[in-house]
């Protein structure tokens, strides 16, 4: 029996593009932080803040840059002047950055480092929980596969042993959880089912499927019967359209329920112009964690 989600040290959040991965990652981290856990949300696109930033009490954020992760790794692993020379060597970094999978491995190495109880980064305080706002399904699964691939290709050497340590960490369901996010639409559901299969081939499991953006299903059949003849009236037309959406969503949700059963949790569509702290808190609390 795997541990409850918030008792793990590392959570990956992935899913199709545009379904609210980042929102769910922040909502999850928010719940943990409010419960007093020192929590960091990390993305691996290297586009944001490259130093750990505090957002709220117990809540931190970081954007992992592969190049920086490599410099840090080299200074810790190779150490001293050699590490510094390597980290700054344009030749070495051009090679390392261009090597297939190396950026992914370096990013994951940093994620792994964040999740350790004893951090090797200089002055790094340990986090109770690391939430990774991972890339979309296809690239997300590729990211999670990287350490195993490296461990298989590079049989010996520090990279091989580091890669296999990371691979073991990812497969340990007491340590790492994978959360997939979907919305109740055909494409997103299909991609989620494919993601689940891709992960299973890597012997990894989706621990929680968040079905995001469920619209309300508020009209009863007898009400719809009243509304149908009135479809010329815009309000009735809106209501009938909303009902059509709710039906289509129920169909898509059923496809996911068939696969994920008790691992599925729904979040409501929020009718608000933007997602602020209040909305994130509302979503976090809606997840029974």
């Amino acid at each position: 029996m795997p541990s409850p989600l918030l008792q793990r040290r590392l959570i990956f959040v992935t899913g199709k593009g545009g379904v609210g991965k980042s929102t769910v990652a922040m909502a999850l981290a928010g719940v943990a932080a409010r419960r007093g856990m020192r929590t960091i949300v990390a993305d691996v696109n290297g586009a944001g803040e490259e130093h750990e930033q505090q957002l709220a009490p117990n809540l931190f954020t970081l954007s992992i840059h592969p190049q920086r992760a490599m410099e840090e790794y080299l200074s810790v692993k190779v150490g001293g002047t050699a590490g510094q020379i390597l980290g700054q060597s344009r030749m070495f970094s051009a090679f390392a950055m261009a090597t297939p999978g190396m950026r992914e491995l370096l990013s994951l190495g940093k994620v792994w480092e964040l999740a350790q109880t004893q951090r090797r980064a200089w002055g790094g305080e340990p986090y109770d929980l690391t939430v990774v706002d991972a890339p979309a399904s296809g690239h997300g699964a590729a990211l999670l596969r990287t350490p195993r691939t490296f461990a298989e290709i590079a049989k010996i050497g520090p990279i091989a042993s580091q890669a296999s340590t990371i691979a073991q960490t990812l497969a340990d369901r007491d340590f790492t959880a994978i959360v997939a996010v979907a919305i109740p639409e055909d494409l997103a559901v299909a991609e989620t089912l494919e993601l689940d299969e891709a992960l299973q081939r890597e012997r990894l499991n989706i621990d929680l499927l968040v079905l995001n953006q469920r619209h309300p299903d508020r009209f009863e059949e007898r009400e719809l019967e009243v509304l149908r003849p009135l479809a010329a009236a815009p309000a009735a037309r809106l209501a009938l359209a909303a009902d059509l959406r709710a039906r289509s969503e129920a169909e898509q949700a059923a496809r996911l329920e068939a696969r994920f059963g008790g691992r599925l949790q729904s979040l409501p569509f929020l009718f608000s112009p933007e997602l602020g702290d209040d909305e994130l808190e509302q979503l976090g609390e809606a997840l029974a964690l």
Binding site: K16, G17, G18, S22, N45, L74, K77, V78, I85, L86, S89, M91, F92, A94, F95, M97, A98, T99, P100, G101, E104, P135, A136, G138, A142, R145, T146, I153, A154, K155, I156, G157, P158, I159, A160, D186, L187, A188, A190, R218, F219, E223, V226, L227, L230, A233, P234, A235, A236, L238, A241, A242, L244, R245, S248, Q252, F271, P273, E274, L275
Partner: protein, 360 residues
């Protein structure tokens, strides 16, 4: 404005945008509309919805465009031809190796190399690389009046344009070759820095990788010129006046921001920008509620209707605000709006509907 006007004189259209905004369907709709108006059009998609692909008869993955039977296109009068293909990155990569390798034996050896196998499949970036590679190949063939490329989902445009360059850099392998061939000019030039680097490289990566890489580059030897040449040609093609980039987005805050930054990236890279398509727009409530009175349906249902109307109003206002931001960033470039449809549109019916919105 119609997409047909926007794309006047274009031979290549690249649809770019973040994931989940309906980019594939928009690309297919653009291709459909241009074909209906008489052009011979090929649409190259990365990962189309299965239902759409199936409905178009695209279930075969042969990595070459196949002609779509116009009878499948639900009543669209077709003056030209619509061709479509699903990109198979591995296959495209293999074809590329076949075309640049001096002998079939050399090609087979490369394709059997572990580094190559990793490179051509698992790696993020291989989709982007193969997409532009295929685009170039189709454009060179001269078989089509217009090629519409659907790009892989990316958070920002840079991912798409950087990935091919990153892979090219790796394939050219100049840095590594300098390390592996101690007698090369590069090695002598870098001798001072390279000796410790080479030692550390072994320590850090493990010998096996280096050996595989050395074999890989030995096999590629002499072919890097072809890769470099191709990269320069692709670059010229992307910058040509007959090429246009279409941004596809949805009217939510995140995708809108992505679209605005895409627009900037395109401008910085001097890439020809044609316009933007905003998908899934909730039109303003005023135009929906022309006869503002709710029908008399009793208080309980009236309350529910009022809630539904006010929820819709929130979305319409949100969309309007984001569209206004995008419009400001577009600086007068064309902007096309496609309304939200309540049911899923990933089939031929949906495709035809979106195409009608784009070609008015």
């Amino acid at each position: 404005m119609s997409v047909a006007e926007i794309l006047e004189g274009k031979r290549v259209v690249v649809c770019a945008g973040s994931g989940g905004v309906g980019k594939t369907t928009a690309a297919a709709a653009v291709a459909l509309g241009m074909a209906a108006r008489g052009a011979k059009v090929a649409v190259v998609t990365i990962d189309p919805a299965k239902r759409l692909a199936g409905a178009l008869g695209l279930d075969m993955l042969d990595n070459e465009p196949s002609r779509i039977d116009s009878r499948r296109l639900a009543g669209v009068a077709m003056k030209g031809e619509l061709w479509a293909m699903m990109l198979d990155p591995k296959r495209t990569f293999d074809d590329l190796i076949d075309s640049v390798a001096p002998t079939p034996e050399r090609a087979a050896e490369i394709k059997a190399n572990r580094i190559y196998r990793q490179l051509s499949t698992a790696v993020a970036g291989s989709q982007e690389f193969t997409a532009v590679s295929k685009l170039y190949e189709l454009s060179q063939s001269g078989r089509f009046d217009l090629i519409v490329l659907d790009t892989p989902p990316a958070r920002n445009a840079l991912d798409f344009f950087d990935a091919p360059a990153r892979l090219e850099a790796f394939l050219e392998g100049s840095a590594l070759k300098a390390l592996l061939r101690p007698t090369s000019v590069g090695m002598r030039l870098f001798a001072k820095g390279a000796v410790p680097v080479l030692g550390a490289l072994r320590r850090v990566t493990g010998v096996d990788v280096t050996t595989d890489l050395a074999t890989f580059f030995a096999l590629l030897g002499g072919m890097t010129e072809s890769f470099g040449m191709r990269a320069r040609h692709v670059d010229l093609l992307l910058h040509a006046q007959t090429t246009g980039f279409l941004l596809v987005t949805s009217p939510q805050a995140g995708p809108t921001e992505d679209a605005i930054s895409f627009r900037r990236t395109l401008a910085d890279g001097r890439l020809p920008f044609s316009g933007a398509i905003v998908n899934r727009v909730h039109p303003p409530l005023a135009s929906v509620l022309t006869d503002s009175e709710l029908p008399d349906v009793g208080p309980a249902l009236a309350q529910k209707l009022a809630t539904a109307v006010s929820e819709y109003g929130v979305l319409a206002a949100r969309d309007a605000a984001n569209i206004a931001r995008l419009t400001a960033a577009l600086d007068g470039a064309p902007l096309l709006l496609v309304p939200e449809f309540e049911d899923d549109v990933n089939d031929v019916h949906g495709l035809v509907r979106i195409h009608r919105e784009l070609f008015v």
